[in-house]
Amino acid sequence: MKILYYLFLGIVFGFVMTKSEAISWYRIQEMFRFESFHMYGIIGTAVVLGGGGIALMKRFDIKTYNGNELNLKDKDWSVPRYLFGGTIFGLGWALTGACPGPLFTLLGQGIWAIGLVILSAMLGTYVYGAVRDRLPH
């Protein structure tokens, strides 16, 4: 049953990402060229509603379905890790027009070339895992 819950959420997410056109390479270029509000509207709405919701969940001490604390750990403080890692991801995001979620959703559209992007994203993650001790965190 739990599997079905996550499968259902994933299906909704993939559907939303497609209908919002957030998976579109064109939309990503348009965003980084500041030529439309569309993508900022999506991310902005998600963050405003998300922020309000999380504040309320904390205020009213909402637990998970089985009574545990919500999985909202504070992130370790650092600058280089987030700034350098984030910049590298941003370069890839604008080049491929996809962040990790859309990589998978586009596969569902039958765009087989995205499989190559997924494989090289795995390679990138692997290389990070191999050299991470030598990177600032």
Binding site: W25, G85, G124, G129
Partner: protein
């Protein structure tokens, strides 16, 4: 009913989409999970056996099974939204973006019989895998995504949506990085790569 289906099939308003994404995050939090898509790339490396070589991948990936199921759902969702309830209209972007792309030889989004209007065929048609430009964009771009998200500890879902919603300063730094990199690519490097 037809009106409802038409509304579902077409392009959704950004506020509806944003609200649905926030809803997805809440439902994952309620289940004791967290909304972070790029973790799947690490899990997939572990399943492929990377844990034998590097400690970073030596973890019990079964704890992340739910996230792989979520990713599988995202593929099915893309299938349903594209093939079962397709948007009859191509992705509609601003004319200034279309003109800028045209100046680099990228055609506007168009429903070109069966191929997707979401991505440009100049980069994503299957035969682009065999061109130098396609390889640089697809392999290079994928590598940057995989390396960058793991170094930063998250992607758009983990940092931009969940992290910012949870008022995490590290996530704000990461998102500033996302945009710095994105702006550099779109304004500086992309025209060079498309000229290959």
């Amino acid at each position: 009913m037809t009106t409802l289906l038409n509304a579902l099939a077409g392009s959704w308003h950004w506020s509806v989409s944003g609200a649905m994404i926030a809803g997805t995050m809440f439902l994952l939090l309620y289940a004791g999970r967290t909304f972070g898509f790029s973790s799947n790339l690490r899990t997939m490396c572990t399943i492929a056996g990377a844990g034998k070589r590097h400690a970073f991948f030596d973890f019990d990936w079964k704890a992340q099974r739910w996230n792989l199921v979520f990713a599988a759902g995202a593929i099915i969702g893309g299938y349903l939204a594209f093939f079962v309830l397709p948007n009859p209209e191509p992705v509609e972007i601003s004319s200034s973006t279309i003109n800028w792309l045209a100046s680099m030889g990228i055609t506007a989004p168009a429903d070109t019989g069966g191929s997707s209007s979401y991505v440009p065929p100049e980069l994503y048609a299957t035969n682009q895998i065999f061109t130098l430009r396609g390889l640089v964009a697809l392999v290079g771009g994928g590598f940057l995504i995989g390396f960058g998200t793991r170094w930063a500890g998250g992607c758009t879902s983990g940092h931009a949506i969940t992290g910012l919603s949870n008022l995490q300063l590290p996530s704000l730094i990461a998102v500033i990085g996302f945009f710095a990199g994105g702006l550099l690519m779109t304004w500086l490097f992309l025209p060079l790569i498309l000229a290959i």
